[in-house]
């Protein structure tokens, strides 16, 4: 089963005629993902490396029945691209683009919530269900099918963890990179819920970072709703506390958001946390 994505998911790539879009569209297809085409406004009716191209998501969806999209367009156009996918009723919108203005991201999240799309990202590596399909840029050579669910705020760090898991013989059900931006729709809680409900996922790895309160919210959720074992890692212990967030920021943030407070909160609800990534596989055995 896995979560969010499997071999039946029909994926389009927005920005498919760009360098990154095309490169990763091919990688996705090579892995077995059903990439049914792509969208680049103004290039509709053409074809590129075997991918059909449409001018708009609505037209691509009408023609192919796509239910997922992977967005590679530049930050300046990301809002319009994401809106387009959401408006066309695409169920799973994976927004790889980084550097999107905060206001634009908030608008995208709001529209996705309103129209019922699941939005992964922005500024994320996407997701992969090993052995079935991937959307995004997670390398395929470091994953293998199995029963560990992985959810992560960090991109490259995830790859390190995936490889260590695979090397230790711990395959993955699905790995979701939720992305590093502060505003998002799909956060730890949403993915933990899916992993908890997924019969193929037995244990969960959660890779967090300093800042914000996503890990704290995850801890609350785990306490109430997650019965599967969770192993956690928080990056950023070295980081210095911020100085630029203004009085309102400081008052709202309070003492929260540091690595230590996150680790403490997670431990308090039964999550085993590690100091070094290399300790993760052992805790899952």
């Amino acid at each position: 089963m896995a979560i969010l994505l499997n071999k039946d998911t029909k994926v389009i790539v927005q920005g498919i005629t760009g360098f990154q879009g095309l490169f990763h569209a091919k990688k996705m297809r090579d892995y077995g993902t059903q990439v049914v085409g792509g969208v680049t406004p103004g290039k509709g009716g053409t074809e590129i490396e075997g991918f059909k191209v449409w001018d708009s998501v609505a037209e691509a969806v009408e023609a192919t029945g796509a239910n997922a999209t992977c967005i590679f367009v530049p930050a300046k156009f990301a809002k319009s691209a994401a809106y387009e996918a959401i408006d066309a009723g695409v169920e799973l919108v994976v927004l790889i683009t980084e550097g999107i203005p905060k206001i634009d991201t908030m608008s995208i999240v709001k529209r996705a919530n309103k129209k019922g799309s699941t939005l992964i990202g922005p500024n994320c590596p996407g997701l992969i269900t090993p052995g079935q399909a991937k959307i995004g840029i997670i390398p395929t050579n470091i994953v293998k099918p199995g029963k560990i669910g992985v959810v992560s705020r960090s991109g490259t760090l995830t790859y390190e963890v995936l490889e260590q898991l695979s090397n230790a013989g711990l395959g993955q059900s699905t790995c979701v990179g939720i992305g590093g931006d502060p505003y998002k729709q799909t956060n730890f809680v949403q993915v933990l819920k899916l992993f908890q409900e997924d019969p193929e996922t037995e244990k969960i790895v959660m890779l967090g970072e300093i800042g914000g309160n996503a890990e704290e919210l995850a801890a609350e959720f785990i306490k109430e709703h997650v019965t599967k074992p969770v192993v956690g890692y928080i990056a950023g212990k070295t980081a210095k506390p911020g100085k630029t967030m203004g009085h309102a920021g400081a008052i709202i943030q309070g003492g929260k958001g540091t690595a230590d407070s996150k680790i403490k909160t997670l431990e308090s609800v039964g999550v085993k946390t590690v100091n070094r990534i290399s300790e993760i596989p052992d805790l899952l055995k």
Partner: protein
């Protein structure tokens, strides 16, 4: 500031090392907030001049007439406490304060931008500050007790702070803040003037892509005018493409150290961390984890330097150039996990940089993943070795920095 539009970079996470990902922003100068934002939105202010020399300062003081305030333009709050904002009753006092302030440094730079501001007729100082929360709301704090001890007030007498939560995409009107301002003891015209300024700031947050908007103090004069004395504004650097003029602002220069600036111009993320182990990572999360591991083994990273995923040899080479340009390194750690990144490219960059910049600081290299064999072979040819495990490489780099072997 680096060009935007590449879809997978690393700048944000560098900032996140300093301030946590929740609030990522670039502060601007008090002067810029007033000149480029408050003026445009007609927020009432006192007269002021930006001066860059003693002559300009004297002219400004003459034009405005004593008393004046002499205010250092630096990218930080708390200037009053630091003695970088000084009220001056006479011209002589003002010039003396100017001399004193410009003799000082902040953040490793001389202070040479100063604002001279007309004196105020202050009946009361109030405070307003706003940021976004993580759910798409603007959170506004307002208190009738302005000044610098706001965090303390929030803790000890929270009822003295009115809090408003406004969805980012709502239309904003002064009425939305009237009752809350009223609760802090204001009524009639003064209340509505304050509510109007708050509404204006909230609108600015969205229209101007701000991440922080604060006025502290906002003053009420004896003739019941409400006037902004300070401006503390943080901008969303990801929205620079909508505000290209901001690339030319003075704060854009001040925000980064020379090494940071150099790094950003080459698409690298660089943060000075103050230790002695030069650290280069391919990917930002990896960078954070590597820095943590350095501390875990008892070392101190000199910097956070990230070339991102899929870096070219040139990028790696530039990163090493930036790293060594800062000095004070006892060892260098290069942690490359090859997912998208090709490790032969990383190896090429390292070899080239070592040659070009005569780097003789002990270097520990970890290569694992895509094109690992090719990378290791290239290093070997150049007389270097590579670790496979992250832990081992970090441990080694820490030992080297401590002079062990």
């Amino acid at each position: 500031m680096k060009k935007k539009g590449n879809f997978k970079g690393t700048r944000n996470i560098a900032h996140s090392l300093q301030i946590g990902r929740a609030i990522i922003m670039g502060l601007i100068l008090e002067y810029e907030g007033k000149e480029f934002l408050f003026k445009k939105y007609r927020i009432p202010m006192l007269e002021y001049r930006l001066v860059r020399s003693r002559e300009e300062a004297e002219k400004a003081i003459d034009e405005l007439g004593a008393p004046v305030a002499v205010k250092a333009q630096i990218l930080s709050g708390g200037r009053g406490k630091m003695g970088l904002v000084k009220f001056s009753r006479t011209k002589e006092e003002a010039l003396a304060n100017y001399d004193e302030i410009t003799s000082r440094e902040f953040d490793g730079r001389p202070i040479n931008l100063v604002v001279i501001e007309a004196g105020a007729d202050i009946k009361q100082e109030v405070f307003v500050s706003m940021v976004f929360d993580n759910t798409g709301n603007i959170v506004v704090l307002f208190s009738a007790e302005g000044g610098v001890e706001i965090e303390k007030l929030a803790e000890e007498e929270p009822e003295k702070i009115s809090r408003f939560v406004v969805p980012f995409d709502d239309e904003i009107y002064p009425y939305m803040f009237a009752a809350g301002v009223g609760k802090q003891g204001f009524t009639g015209k003064v209340k509505m003037k304050i509510a109007t300024i708050i509404a204006t700031l909230v609108k600015m947050m969205v229209k101007e892509d701000l991440q922080l908007a604060e006025i502290n103090p906002l003053i009420i004069t004896n003739s019941n005018d409400v006037v902004a004395i300070d401006s503390r504004i943080g901008i969303d650097e990801d929205a620079m493409f909508r505000h290209p003029e901001r690339e030319e602002w003075l704060s854009a220069e001040l925000r980064d150290t020379p090494a940071e600036k150099d790094a950003h111009e080459h698409g690298l993320a660089y943060v000075d961390l103050g230790g002695d182990i030069g650290m280069l990572s391919c990917g930002a999360g990896m960078g954070m984890a590597t820095a943590d591991l350095i501390e875990y083994y008892g070392g101190e990273p000199r910097n956070f330097l990230d070339v991102g995923g899929g870096a070219s040899p040139e990028k790696v080479e530039n990163a090493l150039r930036v790293m060594v340009s800062e000095g004070g390194l006892k060892s260098i750690l290069i942690n490359a996990f090859g997912g998208i990144t090709r490790l032969d490219d990383v190896a090429k960059g390292i070899i080239e940089a070592k040659k070009k910049y005569n780097i003789d600081i002990p270097m520990v290299i970890r290569l694992n993943g895509t094109n690992q064999e090719e990378g290791v072979a290239l290093l070997k040819e150049a007389g270097m070795e590579a670790y496979l495990s992250m832990e081992d490489s970090v441990e080694k780099a820490v030992k080297l920095a401590k002079g062990e072997n």
